[in-house]
Amino acid sequence: MSNPMRSMLYIPGNNPGMIQQCSFYGADSILLDMEDAIALSEKDAARNLVSHALRSLDFSDVYMTVRINGADTEFFEKDLEKIVPSKPDAIRLPKTQGMEDVKHADELITLLERENGILEGTISLHAMLETAKGIVNAFSIATASPRVRALTLGGQDLAADMGIRRTKEGTEILYARSAVVMAAKAAGIMAFDTVYIDISDLEGLLQESIMVAGLGFTGKAAIHPSQVPVIHQAYRPDEKDLRKAIRVVRAAREAESKGIGVYTVDGRMVDGPVVTQAHRVVELARISGMDVEGADLK
């Protein structure tokens, strides 16, 4: 099982200092941004810098994603041509509106993987849904290519597209959040929640992170390193849930070794989904630095 990605930290693609240091900020994954964070006059510089950084720096085991510019811009193809050979873990496709957008990007990436001797399908696509149309098409986007490994919600642009105002409570995008999570779960891929803009309000961020974790998002975007530990805190299992999850994992292992199909933990029947969920809780606990002794993690 790969590490859960609770946090995805935006790093401006034209900031060499931050790019060099980004793997020390504690985020599970990094998003090197070449889109909104970069002025038009800086696009070339950011593209070169990100490409060079990916090839020359050691980001340890941090999952590296690059947000390229949208297919409706003159930068889209140039971005892919430069970034695909640098082999990021994933490319984030902004303003994905429908399955055609995914297929178009997928074809180009496949071509570039071939040209550069990279095994086809190596680079994942994360589709960013930030328009009403994109939200409505969430499931078809999620299933347009096996390359799509995550849906991500862009709350700011979505609000602009819908002509509504963002609030701290987030009621206005509750449907969008639910739709993104539901489509991602149905497709068996990850779902990342949008950013929390007020970097001084860590308590507000914590409440929102707890809420989206509860909705089912696998992770949340961060726009400042100080947000990372707060997001992680929201994904930290409570001690009671962890102990129960460990009992489930152990029972599942014992049952498997004895060839038992049906068994109970704490008097309740355990089935496949419960075991999967228990594994996830244990894994989240492990990366949260909790004591998972007894879970026999391998």
Partner: protein
């Protein structure tokens, strides 16, 4: 100049024209064998017993009364930080009087003291002994403008040197933020209030003459707080201003938001926690660097959460530490130097915030300095090397631009000495094969902490075990160095003229630990 090699492989002179003989460094505890003999300056009464007023009309007259003449030694304290105008005021008067070839022995030189470069060039100052050298003075000394090498001493080392007579102060000029006409003085009130006068107290006790310079002359007797009593003061001189209050009384340093600094601080805190030293009664020192304060913040949270009440904090004190005292997280604060204005009030009002002279703080050869009671100290550095030696004195360009301060004193005295620094600054790596200048020997340093991980000194096997047990990101120091160099490359070495030492770095016990050379 005849040179020898000391126990850490550094070339140091055995005799220096203008200073005399020196012993090479031979381990941090090599002179703690009881053989050390101190000679204390004898102070005799020079003041008319019938006098009830020591105020002299002018600085010049006060200097004339001391008999200051060519070749003598004068001292200043640096409690007024970057706002100090007293050193320049006094030196300009001395120049007007035509006195030459002085030994300047301030407790340190700050950014306010660029003028010292001119006194060196004009021959007013012939020798310098200090803790810190920066700016124009650093450049002047590093380019060889001082004929006799400067001596760099730690705070504890300077206290020792004064007590043993290696620094024999003829006249101490003590900026006094508040003073009465008999010379009772403190640093806590008045427009130039600066906090503790820990360095000045020691100079006052041992100088042949003491002139208090004040811009806040108050009615006798000064009360309730007296840092230096009248028994040590010969003359009082009133001036309009001791300096720039905005630079004397800086605001308290804020908690950093820089993610890299926070990362380093987190690693340092994790190590402190793993060391199991954060227990009831623990003692602690941090500086006021951004990383140090962030470590202190983590320590505060931890102590709150666990309900731990520490014994004491020590050192240069910043606002963060006084807030921990007020909160009851420590029993007492021992304060030799305030780092910002917010501590002044605390020293005045809180009896558990104790003013401490610099010998009490760090002199290795008294009957027990406070650094020896320290559990944890967190220190910064310009760079470190594979032997864990620390340089806080010369920059990447080889020029003097730092201060020895209490670095080697606290490193020696503490149970856990942690050096925090980023793995590189402005593209130049911080971990090198061999630091240009050793101020603190690696044998007294327990760990180097960077954002990339923690390197524990292999001498500390106990700490290594605790670190492993806690799952800390432990690295060997060579690995950290190699990893950093993948990003930065390896800079070309600075070229020095090794025939021309420009500064001698004394270890706290008076032996020479390293030599700084003229840059080419």
């Amino acid at each position: 100049m005849k040179m020898t090699t000391n126990s850490i492989g550094r070339k140091v002179p055995v005799s220096v024209p203008g200073w005399g003989k020196f012993s090479p460094y031979n381990g941090p505890a090599s002179r703690l064998d009881g053989q050390y003999q101190a000679t204390t300056a004898q102070i005799c009464s020079r003041v008319n017993p019938a006098s009830r007023d020591k105020v002299v009309p002018s600085l010049r007259e006060a200097i004339e009364n001391t008999g200051l003449s060519d070749g003598m030694t004068i001292s200043f304290h640096h409690h007024l930080r970057n706002g100090d105008a007293v050193l320049k005021l006094v030196m300009d008067t001395i120049e007007e009087m035509g006195i030459m070839d002085l030994t300047l022995a301030p407790s340190s030189l700050t950014d306010a003291h660029d003028c010292v470069a001119d006194y060196i060039r004009r021959g007013t100052v012939r020798r310098v002994s200090t803790s810190g050298v920066r700016g124009e003075v650093g450049k002047a000394i590093s380019s060889g403008e001082l004929e006799i090498p400067a001596i760099i001493r730690s705070h504890g080392g300077r206290a020792r040197a004064i007590e043993e007579g290696s620094i024999a102060i003829d006249v101490a000029f003590l900026a006094a933020p508040t003073c009465d006409q008999m010379g009772n003085l403190n640093g806590l009130t008045g427009k130039s209030a600066c906090g503790s006068l820990g360095y000045a107290i020691h100079d006052a006790r041992h100088a042949r003459y003491v002139i208090a310079v004040t811009d806040n002359l108050v009615q006798y007797p000064l009360h309730p707080f007296i840092s230096i009593p009248q028994v040590y003061v010969d003359h009082v001189v009133r001036v309009n201003s001791l300096g720039d209050p905005s630079k004397i009384a800086t605001g308290a340093a804020r908690l950093t938001k820089d993610p890299l600094q926070l990362r380093i601080a987190q690693n340092a805190f994790d190590l402190i926690k793993a060391s199991e030293l954060l227990a009831p009664g623990c003692s602690f020192q941090v500086g006021v660097g951004a990383i140090s304060i962030a470590v202190a913040s983590d320590v505060r949270e931890y102590m709150r959460e666990k309900g731990i009440r520490g014994g004491f904090c020590v050192g240069g004190i910043g606002g963060f530490m006084t807030s921990m005292l007020e909160e009851g997280l420590f029993e007492a604060l021992f304060d030799t130097q305030g780092f910002d204005a917010s501590v002044t009030d605390s020293l005045l009002k809180n009896p558990s915030h104790i003013e401490m002279d610099v010998s009490w703080y760090a002199n290795p050869f008294n009957k027990g300095c406070i650094v020896n009671n320290l559990d944890v100290v967190v220190l910064s550095a310009l760079d470190v090397d594979l032997d864990f030696n620390v340089n806080v004195l010369t920059g990447h360009d080889g020029i003097l631009r730092g201060a020895s301060g209490g670095h080697s004193d606290t490193a020696f005295g503490s149970s856990l000495c942690i050096i925090v620094l980023p793995s590189y600054r402005e593209g130049v790596p911080s971990i090198v094969d061999r630091v240009q200048t050793v101020v603190t020997p690696g044998e007294t340093v327990d760990a180097i902490v960077t954002e990339r991980g923690i390197a524990i000194n292999p001498r500390r096997e106990d700490l290594l075990l605790l670190g492993r047990k806690a799952g800390l990101p432990l690295r060997d120091i060579e690995g950290l160095k190699r990893e950093t160099e993948k990003v930065t490359g390896i800079p070309d070495p600075v070229e020095f003229d090794h025939d021309h030492p420009v500064a001698l770095v004394e270890y706290r016990d008076g032996t020479l630990i390293d030599t700084v050379y003229r840059i080419r």
